[in-house]
Amino acid sequence: MLQAIAFYTIAAFILGFAVLVVTTKDTVHSVLFLVLDFLFVAALYVMLNAQFLAVIQILVYAGGIVVLYLFVVMLVNLKRPPEAHSDPHRMTKFGFGLAAAVLIELGAILVSGYMKAPAVAATATEASMPVSGNTEQVGWLLYTSYLIPFEIASMLLLVAMIGAIVLAKREL
């Protein structure tokens, strides 16, 4: 019961702030709503027993990425609103097609989720690990089975950092 109340409260905040992010006219307010949205997603991660990921979410998203967005919003000072559009209905057909596809997908989720109980596959991963605790397990996996993807992610971040500097610098 307590879990249900927590879930529905957090879900309502996540969806409400997401709608505000998309609909707010002022870009700065939109970024601030994005911070609140990320904080509630972090709360959801805590509920799901992923404490390490919750901290990473707050540090990287709410602390790092959103500050980057705020800097860009402050640097880009707009004299005229960018929302004026000549033909607002040009994507209507594509939009309706996409909406229909998502609706069918949601129906499939509902049918398969409520008709039969989800079969929990017995995964031996957690038992076979020599460490216990969320952070230890994530770290153990990152440095054993997923070492190469981990290194590739670090290379990706390095390349992205250099690329961002090259793009944003006035002259090299």
């Binding site: 019961m1 879990q3 249900a4 879930f7 879900a11 996540i14 969806l15 997401a18 709608v19 992010v21 998309v22 870009t27 939109s30 994005l34 949205d37 997603v41 959801l44 799901l48 027993n49 992923a50 990921l53 990473i56 979410q57 990287v60 998203y61 790092g64 967005y69 860009v72 919003v73 640097l75 880009v76 707009l78 960018p82 929302e83 004026a84 000549s86 994507m91 996409l98 998502v102 949601l106 989720i109 989720g113 929990v120 596959a121 995964t123 991963t125 957690e126 969320n134 994530v138 996996l141 089975s145 992610a153 990706l156 971040l157 992205a160 690329g163 961002a164 500097i165 793009l167 944003a168």
Partner: protein, 101 residues
């Protein structure tokens, strides 16, 4: 009433749809990038929910990779926005047609 993975999937789908609507409807490219972040968060919620359901931490490892890719994407994308703004004094995606065929 227990909270099943179906609940998390529906929340994730709703967040994903809000992000897609933001990408389709808004013309301000900064808002479009924020909508992409919402979409990536929806994917992460799904990964972590299944990780909790299956008692398997691999989903959280993949969520960390998604966060790393999102950080890289935000850095490069915002660099492109700054470079574009310096040339055209605008962040409207309808004016970004320089490399169109």
């Amino acid at each position: 009433m227990p909270i099943t993975p179906t609940h998390y999937m529906l929340l994730s789908a709703a967040l994903f749809i809000i992000g897609v609507i933001g990408v389709m409807v808004r013309r301000n490219i900064i808002i479009i990038f924020m909508s992409i972040e919402l979409i990536l968060n929806a994917v992460n919620i799904n990964l972590v929910a299944f990780s909790a359901q299956l008692h398997n931490v691999i989903g959280q490892v993949f969520a960390i990779f998604v966060i790393a890719v999102a950080a890289a994407e935000a850095a490069v994308g915002l660099g492109i926005i700054l470079a574009f703004y310096r040339n055209k004094e605008s962040v409207n995606i309808d004016e970004m047609n320089l490399m169109r065929w």
